[in-house]
């Protein structure tokens, strides 16, 4: 009895060892997929824009980095073609800036409301609604911007209040709608960190004779600041990368302008429209897509690194 049972034990051990090996390998494969994809994307971006592979030239071998960064026009199709990133960058900054001005304060305020003021019942109604807002496809937001915000809000406001003409495609309505779109993200991420502030801190605040507003603004928000900043940066990254809304509502004319009621073009919308257009593979127009994408990649990566830095720097200032 003893030897055979010993044998079956070791057989099981072998089987388990193989099974563990399979599990380990497949989990590791899944974990490395994203790493490989990121590496591949960086490889493609760099090879098409900075260093050419084989006979083909890279974008920056045809267009100098200096003119890419300083030219004030983006017009690849005309004549020699002009490849200044500034108009696209301006479009992106306008939209992201307006979106941030709208989305960040409203998102934070609703997070504070949900966590500090709302009764459980109210929160039970509002939170699911915010999730619905987060689940709406961006193309719907785009049409909301073009057919509701622009004609009903932006145009009357620009014409009656400011006395200027607003283009049907304009950075303002796109920015506002992207701002609305990032509200749920800011709210849910900020609310998580705000709720994580220990109850004891709130009680201490109330016990010292603070109003709810004092507790929210002087204790809770400062204690949750690092997480709130991280949620802001993630939301800004999201606004930077937003494509569909800006394609529909902001337009496709790269323009370096101080007037947000004009049509513009963002980096993302430019990439999308160029990729759909008739830029022939191997042409400089085609490779300009990669240069723009590379620029966008650097900006969003910088934002992510910065938000990681902020998170690590200020993490768990309370215990």
């Amino acid at each position: 009895m003893l030897p055979s049972s010993k044998h079956s034990l070791s057989a099981k051990t072998n089987f388990r060892r193989i099974w563990e090996g399979i599990v380990l390998t497949s989990l590791m494969f899944c974990a490395t997929v994203s790493v490989f994809v990121t590496a591949a994307i960086i490889f493609v971006l760099v090879s098409e824009s900075v260093v050419g592979i084989g006979d083909s030239l890279a974008f920056f071998q045809e267009v100098s980095l200096w003119s890419f960064l300083t030219d004030t026009a983006w017009a690849p199709q005309y004549g020699e073609g002009q490849f200044g990133i500034l108009p696209l960058l301006a479009g992106t900054l306008w939209v992201t800036g307006i979106a941030s001005v709208i989305g960040l304060p409203v998102g934070l305020a609703s997070a504070v409301y949900l966590s500090e003021y709302a009764s459980p019942k109210t929160r039970g109604i509002i939170k699911p609604l915010l999730e619905v807002l987060a689940g709406i496809p961006t193309v719907v937001y785009g049409f909301f911007a073009l057919f509701f915000v622009t004609p009903l809000l932006i145009k009357p406001f620009a014409e009656n209040v400011l006395g200027i003409e607003a283009n049907i495609f304009n950075a303002m309505s796109g920015g506002i709608v992207v701002g609305i779109m990032i509200i749920p993200m800011v709210t849910s991420l900020s609310e998580d960190v705000i709720r994580a502030v220990p109850r004891g801190l709130r009680e201490a605040g109330y016990a010292l004779g603070s109003t709810r507003f004092d507790v929210s603004t002087k204790i809770v928000v400062p204690a949750a600041l690092s997480g709130i900043l991280a949620s802001f940066l993630l939301a800004i990254s999201r606004a930077l990368g937003e494509t569909m809304v800006v394609m529909i509502a902001v337009g496709a004319q790269p323009k370096l302008t101080w007037n947000p009621f004009e049509t513009m073009c963002t980096m993302t919308a430019n990439i999308a429209s160029m990729a759909n257009g008739d830029a022939g593979t191997g042409s400089v127009e085609y490779r300009s897509i990669y240069a723009v994408a590379f620029t966008l990649f650097i900006i969003t990566m910088g934002m992510n690194i910065f938000s990681q830095f902020i998170l690590n720097r200020y993490r768990e200032v309370y215990h």
């Binding site: 009764s119 459980p120 220990p198 004891g200 801190l201 709130r202 009680e203 201490a204 605040g205 109330y206 016990a207 010292l208 004779g209 603070s210 109003t211 004092d214 002087k218 204790i219 400062p222 204690a223 200032v317 309370y318 215990h319």
Partner: protein
């Protein structure tokens, strides 16, 4: 009864007192009533946590609330500064008087009440700010902006809570760098800075080592010269050491209330005796 005879409300409540009146306290017969509750019932939703609590707490004395976990002593403590208000679904009947004022009256400003009735919690909870900003928090909320005035208040409060010498050179470093006992004394200083009349303490030393505990106890002894202190404690020796009167709570009821010495030496109630001799709880 030495209690202010002009207050007829107190006379009628005297019969309800389950224990000997506060005024029997030897050596200090002149202490007036600071806090009085009458037929206080408290509910968490459908669950009743306090049953008809009537008690008179003398000013400038230490009153200890003892009893097994869940007996309602912390709940009772938190009715005195209306901290239970911030918990959803709580309800109260009966009255709590701070001197002559019924603190649950609709016109009472709870923010003002909490400035008069400070509270120190079981777990030290300094704000993640500097030591200075922690103590200056209360005065700032009240609207004091003058830097000299704030500095004065901070120094006075830190001295009162016997932590000034330890922190005077690092007022601008984080309060979280302090040890547990120092944090708790800082929290006491923070409470003193709002200039309260009453200080409620919810097991202020239960998370501290013996050395820090005895410092807190010394501090309590000192503070009762000026303040009315109500302290919840699980530690019988602590109650015996620091308090003048002791109230024993059991299952939401006030079983016995009297001078600490009397209550510990010759309790009237069987339950009190069982509890203080360690037979349950």
């Amino acid at each position: 009864m030495n209690l202010n005879p002009s207050e007829n409300l107190i006379d009628t409540a005297t019969e309800n007192l389950p224990g000997p009146a506060v005024s029997e306290k030897p050596g200090s017969p002149e202490l007036a009533t600071k806090i009085e509750t009458r037929d206080l019932n408290f509910f968490y939703g459908p669950m009743q946590a306090l049953f008809g609590i009537s008690i008179k707490i003398a000013e400038r004395s230490v009153t200890a609330l003892i009893g097994p976990s869940g007996c309602g002593k912390s709940t009772f403590l938190r009715t005195i500064n209306r901290m239970n208000d911030i918990i959803e679904g709580t309800r109260i009947t009966g009255t709590v008087y701070l001197e002559n004022e019924s603190i649950y009256d609709p016109q009472v400003d709870v923010v003002e009440l909490r400035k008069k009735v400070g509270m120190v919690f079981q777990k030290s909870n300094p704000f993640p700010k500097t030591i200075f900003d922690n103590v200056a928090y209360g005065p700032r909320v009240t609207g004091i902006k003058n830097k000299n005035e704030l500095e004065e208040i901070v120094e006075r409060s830190l001295k009162q809570s016997a932590i000034w010498d330890e922190v005077k050179d690092r007022l601008n470093s984080s309060a979280l760098a302090l040890s547990g006992g120092q944090q708790q004394r800082l929290c006491i200083a923070r409470t003193l800075a709002t200039n309260p009349e009453v200080i409620l303490m919810d097991e202020p030393a239960s998370a501290l080592d013996p050395g820090s505990t005895s410092r807190i106890e010394d501090l309590i002894y000192k503070l009762k010269q000026e303040y009315t202190i109500v302290i919840v404690t699980h530690n019988m020796q602590q109650a015996a050491r620091v308090s003048d009167s002791t109230a024993f709570f059991y299952q939401g009821e006030l079983i016995e209330f009297g001078l600490t010495e009397t209550l510990f030496r010759s309790p009237r109630e069987k339950k009190t005796e069982d509890y203080i001799t360690g037979r349950f709880g």
